[in-house]
C-alpha cells in the first residue's frame, strides 16, 4: 500500500437531477457509482472503502448498493450529516485514503425527494380533550413550530439572509430575487439540472411566496438524484495511465466543520461562522486565496443563503456581499462566477447527492469538459455545502498539471 498526502478525484459522476419515478435510491446510487468507476477507469475490485449517504433512507444504503454493484468485503460507512451528507461521505473516503489505510475510496450520495414538499417543519399537535403535558427540551405543551418562530427551511434561511441585511444593509426582496434570476439563467446551459428555464425578475417576485422574502423559485428544488466520486492518493495515481493522470482532479483542500458556539446560534442556526472557518482552513490547506478561484459552487438552498456565503467564503470584503453581487461578479461572465450549474434553486437539491454533485460541477470545468457552460480556462474551483445545524464542507479542486 502506498501512502501519500496528495488526494485526487480519479472519477466522478452525477445522474440527471429531477423526477425519476421508475428508479429507486439503489438504482440512482448504482448509476452514480458505475458512472464514477467508469470515469475513473477502475472497478469495485480497486476500491478499499465505501462511504454512502441517503438521509431519508433506512441507514444501510452502502450495503444495499454493494449488493447491486459489487460485494467485495470492504468497510462500508453509512454517513448522515443533513444537507452536508454527500460532502461528509467524500470526506470519510478521503480520510481513509489520506491515513494510508487504502489507496482508493468511493463516496456516493443519493436521495429521492421529488414531491417531498416542505422540509424541516411540523410537530405533533395536542389531541383534543387531553390535558396539557410538557415535552421536549423547552418543556412546551404543544408544537413550537409556528408559535415560537419557524422550523421550516425557507423561513429559517430567509431569516439568515435578512439578518445579513440588518447588519450591513442593502439586502431586500428584489436583490434576493435577482440572485435567483442569475441561477435560473445559468441553469439553461445545464442539461442535468432539474429545471433549466430562465425566469424573469417579475416572474420570480410574483411567484408563490413561501417565506418572505423567498418565493417558490428562490427555494431549492426537491428532486431525485445521485452523485459519486472515486478518490485516490498521489502515489497510486502515478501507477495509472497518463490519460487517467491527466483527467484526475487534485483535491487541494477537503474541510468539514461544525458550528462553534456563538451567542444566538441555538436560536437561529449560525451558518456563517462555520463556513468562514471552513473557507479559511481550505484556503490555507490549498495555498490559494479567493482571488485565485475561477468558479464557485456554493450552497444556495435559498436565494437568501447565497448572499451570506459570498461573504462567508470571502469572495468579497466583509459586509460587501451586496456590492459583490451588484457588480455582476457572480454571473457566468463575471469576475468570479457562482453557481454556473444553476445552483440548488434550479439544478435541484437531492440532499445527500448535493455535496458531491457540486464537486462534480467544478471538476467538469477544471477538466475542460463542461460543454456549453464551460468557464474558459478554469483551473481552480471551490465547492461548498451546508447542512443544518450545522455542518459545512468546503473542497478546493485544481486541474492536473499532468
Amino acid at each position: 500500500m502506498s501512502r501519500s498526502d496528495d488526494i485526487w478525484i480519479l472519477g466522478i459522476h452525477m445522474t440527471k437531477f429531477g423526477k425519476h419515478p421508475n428508479l429507486d435510491v439503489v438504482d440512482l446510487g448504482a448509476e452514480a457509482i458505475q458512472g464514477a468507476l467508469a470515469d475513473a477507469g477502475v472497478t469495485m475490485a480497486d476500491i478499499g472503502i465505501l462511504a454512502a449517504g441517503n438521509l431519508l433512507g433506512s441507514g444501510s444504503i452502502a450495503q444495499q448498493l454493494q449488493k447491486q454493484v459489487g460485494q467485495t468485503g470492504i468497510p462500508a460507512y453509512n454517513v448522515s450529516n443533513a444537507c452536508a451528507t454527500g460532502a461528509t461521505a467524500l470526506r470519510t473516503a478521503i480520510m481513509a485514503v489520506k491515513a494510508g489505510e487504502v489507496d482508493m475510496g468511493l463516496a456516493v450520495g443519493v436521495e429521492k425527494l421529488a414531491g417531498a414538499g416542505l422540509l424541516g417543519a411540523g410537530g405533533k399537535a395536542k389531541a383534543d380533550n387531553d390535558e396539557w403535558e410538557r415535552n421536549g427540551r423547552f418543556g412546551a405543551v404543544g408544537p413550537v413550530d409556528g408559535r415560537i418562530g419557524t422550523e421550516s427551511m425557507p423561513g429559517v434561511f430567509a431569516q439568515i439572509g435578512m439578518e445579513y441585511g440588518h447588519k450591513y444593509g442593502g439586502a431586500d426582496f428584489e436583490l434576493f430575487a435577482k440572485i435567483s434570476e442569475k441561477n435560473h439563467a445559468h441553469s439553461t446551459l445545464n442539461p442535468l439540472a432539474a429545471y433549466n428555464k430562465a425566469m424573469s425578475l417579475d416572474q420570480i417576485m410574483n411567484d408563490v411566496m413561501i417565506a418572505y422574502p423567498n418565493t417558490r423559485p428562490m427555494c431549492s428544488a426537491n428532486c431525485d438524484g445521485a452523485a459519486a466520486a472515486v478518490v485516490i492518493n498521489g502515489e497510486k495515481l502515478k501507477t495509472l495511465s497518463l490519460e487517467q493522470q491527466r483527467r484526475a482532479v487534485k483535491v487541494s483542500a477537503s474541510i468539514l466543520t461544525s458550528d462553534p458556539w456563538q451567542e444566538a446560534c441555538q436560536v437561529l442556526p449560525d451558518v456563517n461562522t462555520l463556513t468562514r472557518s471552513a473557507a479559511h482552513q481550505a484556503y490555507e490547506q490549498a495555498g490559494v486565496g479567493p482571488q485565485d478561484l475561477n468558479l464557485v459552487e456554493l450552497h444556495d438552498c435559498f436565494a437568501t443563503a447565497e448572499l451570506v456565503h459570498y461573504d462567508n467564503l470571502m469572495l468579497c470584503e466583509e459586509g460587501g456581499a451586496v456590492d459583490f453581487f451588484e457588480s455582476g461578479a457572480a454571473h457566468r461572465d463575471g469576475r468570479l462566477p457562482v453557481n454556473v450549474s444553476g445552483g440548488l434553486q434550479s439544478k435541484g437539491h437531492p440532499i445527500s447527492a448535493t455535496g458531491i454533485a457540486n464537486i462534480w460541477e467544478v471538476c467538469q470545468h477544471v477538466r475542460g469538459e463542461a460543454g456549453d457552460r464551460q468557464i474558459e480556462g478554469a483551473k481552480v474551483g471551490l465547492a461548498h455545502v451546508i447542512g443544518l445545524a450545522s455542518a459545512c464542507g468546503v473542497h478546493i479542486l485544481e486541474r492536473s498539471a499532468a
Binding site: 380533550n129 390535558e131 396539557w132 405543551v141 415560537i148 451567542e263
Partner: protein
C-alpha cells in the same frame, strides 16, 4: 383571571408577577440558554443560574411565513429579537404580517396570547413580541 387556570406554553416563560422570559445562564462564562441543559456549549461548565430577560427588544431578523406544515396557521411572522444582548426566537404578534408593518430594527415588547384550553379548563399562554 386566576393564575391557577393558566400555565406558560414553555417552561422558560414566567407569567408572574408580569410575563417575562427566564434563561439558564452559565455561572462560568455567562452564555444563556432557553432549553434544559446538560452542560454549557461554550465552556462545558455544568452550573447555571436563572436570569430574567428584558421584555423589550429590537427585531434583528424576520421572515413572513406564508407556507407551513399542516396544522400551522399562516401567515405569521417568525423573528429573532435582540433583548438587551440576548437573542430570543419568537413570533411578532398584534401586527399585520406584511413587509409594510414589520421591519428590521423595529422596536418590540413582549406580549402574551392564549394558545388554547385543555379538558381541565387550563389555558396555555404563549409569548410573542408586538410593536412597541
Amino acid at each position: 383571571m386566576s393564575t391557577a387556570t393558566q400555565i406558560p406554553f414553555v417552561e422558560y416563560l414566567r407569567l408572574e408577577p408580569t410575563p417575562h422570559l427566564v434563561a439558564n445562564e452559565c455561572t462560568s462564562c455567562g452564555a444563556r440558554y432557553f432549553d434544559r441543559r446538560n452542560a454549557c456549549a461554550a465552556c462545558f461548565a455544568t452550573d447555571f443560574t436563572p436570569v430574567d430577560i428584558p421584555t423589550e427588544g429590537v427585531v434583528r431578523s424576520f421572515s413572513i411565513i406564508t407556507f407551513a406544515a399542516p396544522g400551522v396557521e399562516v401567515p405569521f411572522v417568525a423573528a429573532v429579537i435582540d433583548c438587551g444582548g440576548t437573542s430570543v426566537r419568537a413570533n411578532i404578534i398584534n401586527c399585520p404580517p406584511d413587509p409594510e408593518h414589520v421591519s428590521l430594527g423595529m422596536n418590540v415588547r413582549l406580549a402574551t396570547t392564549v394558545v388554547g384550553t385543555d379538558s381541565a379548563g387550563v389555558e396555555a399562554v404563549n409569548y410573542g413580541f408586538e410593536p412597541a
